[in-house]
């Protein structure tokens, strides 16, 4: 290899990976949020894969469109997608240096999160009243693990929505006080969009397939 070319490659590598500059072109906090999202995505992937195995080895599986209230589930999906869109507008407002507008959009996002959680609480209550528990279900033994998969997957996702609402509330309060940075709103937004992405998978593979 030409010596000058090798030296140029070394210089580029050193400039990107030698410290003092992010090779990913992002802030440290944003990169750490992405790392967290990837690890969390793999946790959800583990749950959904385990669900796939359980379903594959079960002799039968309930027809979800008959067991679940699909109007409610579709409305929950609508609420989460809409809140995600509003969150993107909050990030845009924060980046544009408009804390008041960012605050308003953050509040709307939080309302979307609460609507989702309220619907989920209603769904869980209805399901529990029918006799479903994490360790048994009223359709046993035909569909072992059905309710375990339901409670674990939707419960873990619901916990993420609750955590997201809490994070957004903190960011909104800080935005309302003028103590915020565009990065903070964007990182909270990344987490919220991730929660939406997970629900897209849960909606398709647990409720529709």
């Amino acid at each position: 290899m030409d010596a000058s070319l090798a030296a140029e490659q070394q210089r580029i590598l050193a400039s990107d990976w030698g410290g003092g500059k992010s090779p990913f072109g992002t802030s440290w906090s944003k990169f750490m949020m992405w790392i967290f999202i990837i690890s969390d995505a793999l946790t959800f992937a583990g749950f959904l894969i385990a669900y796939g195995f359980m379903r594959g080895i079960s002799p039968a599986w309930p027809k979800q469109t008959e067991i679940f209230n699909m109007v409610l589930i579709t409305f929950m999906t609508f609420a989460l997608i809409s809140s995600s869109a509003v969150m993107a507008m909050a990030v845009g407002a924060a980046r544009a240096g408009d804390p008041k507008l960012a605050f308003r959009f953050l509040v709307l996002t939080i309302i979307g999160g609460f609507i989702f959680l309220g619907c989920q609480a209603y769904e869980w209550t209805h399901f529990i009243e029918e006799g479903a528990r994490p360790w048994t279900n009223p359709w046993m033994p035909a569909v072992p693990q059905f309710t375990a998969a339901f409670f674990v997957i939707t419960g873990f996702h619901g916990f993420h929505v609750f955590s997201g609402v809490t994070i957004l509330a903190i960011v909104a309060i800080r935005a309302g006080m003028g103590k915020y940075s565009g990065d903070q709103v964007e990182n909270a937004g990344l987490y919220w969009h991730f929660v939406d992405v997970v629900w897209v998978f849960v909606f398709a593979f647990f409720y529709l397939l």
Binding site: F24, G25, T26, A41, I57, I81, E186, L208, L209
Partner: protein
């Protein structure tokens, strides 16, 4: 506009859920619809289309690997028995 397309894809997925088509075709179409939604959210809402290739690769590589490993192990659950053994 992105919000509108996400709702359209959600409606499409919902229609597939009720469609009287074979389960495997339904599963394939639902996977395609879901991946389309995820790509739209990641690219537009999460701004991944503006990020450097390094970050895009580090984001998707583990998930693609997870799908590959899953595809190696899952088909056994769909097989039928040809040998009978005693089980407890």
């Amino acid at each position: 506009m992105t919000w509108f397309w996400l709702l359209v894809l959600t409606g499409l997925a919902l229609g597939l859920g009720y469609a009287p088509i074979p389960e495997r075709i339904k599963a394939l179409l639902l996977v395609c619809t879901t991946l389309a939604k995820v790509l739209v959210i990641a690219a537009v809402f999460m701004h991944l289309r503006y990020e450097r290739v390094n970050l895009i690769l580090i984001t998707f590589t583990p998930l693609i690997l997870a799908i590959i490993f899953f595809s190696f192990t899952f088909p056994e659950t769909l097989g039928s028995a040809s040998h009978v053994i005693q089980v407890r």
